[in-house]
Each structure stands twice: as structure tokens, then as C-alpha cells.
């Protein structure tokens, strides 16, 4: 199995740092953090992580599912873990348009995150 790595797509700086620290704690390197959709796509394609932490609401035009779908078309093997503040049916339906590996609801449980990375 290849070494795990992560790109964090999150527009909230505090939460991005939190996720970064958690990854560090679990020994998974973070290859980059992006707050805006198009930058996130570029970054993921450049770094090719094994996992992506994907927020739903991002800066700019694109939302998390737009980014996720774009990534899936090029690199379906990248596992996308959605981390969202909303677990309403509308949001779930939107996420299910993509191919989510996991969906975690904020505030997340660190052990769920560890399990998703395992």
C-alpha cells in the first residue's frame, strides 16, 4: 500500500489548521491547503494525494462537489472525504452526485477522521 497523503480543501482557516494538526498527529503528511475551488483542483492534480478533505462551501464559484467531480474524472482513485456543516437531505443529495468516500459532519469526531484515513 502506498503512503497516505492529504490535500485539505477548506475555506475556514481555523478548521484547516485543525485538520492539518490532526493529520500531523496521525502521521499523515498534508501536501497543501486550498480555500478556493479552481485552486483546489489544480493543487490536487499537481500533488496527487491519496485522500482529500473536502468542505462543501468554498470561496469562488465552485462548491465541494464541483471540485470532487472534476477530480474523479481525472483521478478516480483519490478518496474524497467530505467534511460539511450540513447533513440535510439537500446537501446529502448534492454530495451523492459525486463519489464520496466518506461524509463527516462538523463538528467532526477526530477518531472518525482517523478511521477514514485508515
Amino acid at each position: 500500500m502506498t503512503a497516505k497523503s492529504v490535500v485539505i480543501v477548506e475555506d475556514d482557516a481555523l478548521i484547516a489548521i485543525y485538520l492539518e494538526r490532526l493529520c500531523k498527529k496521525y502521521g499523515v503528511p498534508v501536501l497543501g491547503t486550498a480555500a478556493e475551488g479552481q485552486k483546489a483542483i489544480d493543487m490536487i492534480i499537481t500533488h496527487r494525494p491519496t485522500h482529500v478533505f473536502m468542505d462543501m462551501r468554498l470561496e469562488g464559484e465552485l462548491d465541494g462537489v464541483d471540485v470532487g467531480t472534476a477530480i474523479y474524472l481525472k483521478h478516480p482513485e483519490i478518496r474524497i472525504i467530505y467534511i460539511t456543516g450540513s447533513n440535510e437531505p439537500a446537501t446529502r443529495a448534492r454530495i451523492d452526485e459525486d463519489h464520496p468516500y466518506r461524509i463527516l459532519i462538523k463538528p467532526i469526531n477526530p477518531s472518525d477522521l482517523e478511521e477514514a484515513l485508515a
Partner: protein, 528 residues
Amino acid sequence: MNAGEGRALLKQFADVGRQLTPPLARASTSQRLSSAFAFSAALLCFVILLQWIFAFGDEASLRRVSGMVPSTAILMILVACGLILSKYSNNGLSNRARWLAVGLVLAGALIDQELLFLGGGTGLDRLLIPGFSSSVSSRMSTMTALCLILSSTALALVNTERRRQSQIFVVTASLGLLLSGIGLIGHLFDSESLYRVFVFRAMSLPTSFGFLLLFLAFLISRPDIGWVSIIAGEGPGSRSARRLSLVMLGAPLALTYAGFTVEKYGGIDINFLLSMLAILMSFVLFSGLLLLADRDNAGSQQQSVLIASLERTVADRDLLLSEVYHRVKNNLQQINALLFIQAQSSDHDGTKDALMRMSGRIESLGVVQRLLLEAPARNRLDIATFLTELGERLEAALSGTPSDFKISHDLEPQEVELDAAITLGLIVNELVANSAKYAFGASSPGSSVSNVISIRLIHEDDDTILLVEDNGVGLPHDQEEAMPTGGAGSTIVRALTQQLKGRLEIRSEHGLCTSIRFPNDVLRGQSA
């Protein structure tokens, strides 16, 4: 929101509107109108009765008195007085008087008809008044007797609140109105032809008019039932009915009367006249129909505009609500992130520990938020689901700090109010965190299998008991009081227990056992 719900909402608005209209204001107008009609009918009869009295004894004058016989006049006055009385007083005495009037009128009409058919053509008047004229027109007509019977029936039922009786009242009064209407119009057109119909024979113009007033008075006196309720209603349909009724009722009459006059003087063929009348009537009715249809269309269009705007409002609210929930969860996540970052950058173990316990508390609140959006009702939660998920989270977060442990659950589903659920969650969070920290010591890895913290809820009739137990070392012997006052965990548990009107008990036998007894009505949010 779909259209059906929108309509239900509109109906609710309409009902509220109806309740807001003072019933007295509506009632008194119709009662006054009804009494005025009844009084006019009585006055008419009274004038005719006076004529009879002044003409009495003079055969020539008697013949000139207009049609209504004294018996009819007296009985009709009885009905009218009974109606007015029933509207202005509703005690036992007035009820007895009303029933007396009903009985007298019924008996009078029946006896008169019996005398007429079986007694060789003598009516009530000729029996009671010696020397009363024996001409045909000076007797009570069969139709008059029928109208008296109908009106006494209506008088008997005028104040009823029962459904079936109300229906009979409306049918009776409406039939009376129709029959007296035929009599009246018959007189306006051609009295001779009216009298050629047996049952109407000898039903005079004043009698017809008097009954018309009387039956109108009956119907108007109950604007809450029957078709009168449609005319008297507040709705847009009732308004157009009121506006159209004069035309719709008057036009056929006017047309027919015009036809009748033309036929009498102009010599137009009767069949052609009938066909003309037929087409003109159809035209009038069809115009009325189209007018109503147009109003109906406008009304329903207005309704759909209203429903659409309500739907937009509801959608906006939904969006706002989900936005608020989203913000709450995001804020909890931000607070947690802050605590985590601060804890990581702290060198002091005590500080780190305190911050991580804080973070645990925030996560417990987060679990409630998460479950809340999945719950069917947003103000209640199943406490079993909640505490199970919380327990799993606590086990994952706290096991291994310092020693491993398992959490066991014994929870039955119970719906509790949201605030109570949050409070219970925070209490469980503190108790489990406390056990995790102190119960098992720094154990060797092998012993971790037997380390258990159990969360149980016991349901009794009036109370629910929360039990959080561990199989650890229990209280140290030198510590008298479990959870000494002053510690953050202790303060939180005691305060939250008090908030839910619970009673806290701590035992230390084979470990620490905390039991809190909560009244069920507090958990269900029924005692605010």
C-alpha cells in the same frame, strides 16, 4: 409546501376570520330584519281582522272585505308573534307560549280542512262566527292551511341546534316561501287562473303576501343554517350571490310578466311567446353562470398568487433555518479547532488536559446538533440514540488516556425534549470523562479488556434514572465526598442535575456509581 397545504392554511385563516367577527353583530341585523318581516305580516293580518270586525253584521260590507278569512289572520298573527317572541326571549315561559302557538295553529289548520272536506264545506269561520258569508272565497284555502302547517312546523324548530332538525326547518320554510311565492305571483298575473288550480282556490293576495313575509322572516332569523347562510356569508361567493340575486330573481319575473302583458294586449301567439321566454331565460341564467365563473376564476387566481407567495416565504424560512444550523455546527467546529490548536501548543500537561476536556464537551454539543437534523421533530430527540452515539464518541476519544476502557450501553428509546437531551449529554460527558481519568489508573495493557464504563437508563413511572458506573478503583479512602465541590466537572454535573430537577447519588463499591433520578415531565419538557 405543496398547494394542498397552502389551501389548508388559507382555510385556517378564513376560520380565524370567521371567529373574529362578533356573532352578535351579525345576528342582530338579521334578527331585526326577521322581526320586521314578521311584524309586517302580523300588521297586515291585523288590518284585515279590523276590517272584518267593522263590517260584521252587514252582509254587503262583509263581501267587500278582501280575501283573507279571520281564522287565517288570527293563526298567522299567532305564528308571527311566536317567531318574534322566540327571538327575543328564550326562557321556559316563552318556550311554552311558542309551543302553545304551534299547537293552536296546527289544530286550527287541520280542523278547518277536516270541516271543509268532511263537514260539508263549512270552514272554521262559519262554524265559529254565526252568519258568516258562505261564498266560496270566504273560506280558508287548502294552500293556506298547508302554509299554516308549514309555518307552525318552522316555528316549532326555529331555535333548534340539531343538524337534522335544522335541515327540516330550512326545507319547510323554503317550501312555504315557494308556495306563497306561487300564490303571490299568480295574483299579480291572473287571479282567475290561479283559482282554477284546486289547492290554490280562495288563497287571497294578502294571504300569499303575508305568508311570503312570514317565511322570509323564518329563513332570515337563522342566517347560520341552510341556503340563507350562503347569502348572509362573509365570503366573496356570498358577496357576488348577494349582488347577483336581485337580477337573477327579478329578470325571469320581469320577462315573464312582459310576455304575459304582450300576450294579453298584443295578440302574439302564445307558443312563440313561450319560445321567446325560453331563450331569454336561458340567456339570463347563462349570463349569471358566466359572471359567477369569472369571479371564481379571479378568486382562485388570487389564491394561487397567495399560495405561491406563502411557498416562497416557507422556502426562505427553510433556507434561513438550515443556514442557522450550518452556522451553529461550523462555529462548534471552529471552537473545537481553537481548543485543539491551543492544547497542542501548550507545554503544560494540566493545561493540555483541561483544553482537551473542553474540546470533548464541545463535541458532545456537536453530537446533539448532528442528531437534531436527523430527528423527525426538531425539538425532540431519542435519548437512547443520542447517548449511544455519545458513548461511542467518548470511548474513541478518551480510551487510552491514561488507560483503555470499553463503554457498555443499556438504553431504551425515549423521546426527550431537546434542552433536556443536551443537558443529559453534558452530564454523561462529565461522568464518563471523570471515570476514564480516575477509575482505572495507569493499567497494564492486559487488564484493559475488563475496564468498563456502563451507561444505563432505567425508566420508572414518574422518573428516569441515569446510571453511569465504572468497575475501577472507586473513591480513595481518604476522600470522603465523591466529586468534591470546586472541581469543574463536579460543578458542571451538580448544576446541570439541578437544572433538570434531578437528585444526585454517588456510591463507591466495586467502582464508582453515579445515579441521577430525573422527573419524566422535566425530560419531556412538560414543566417549564
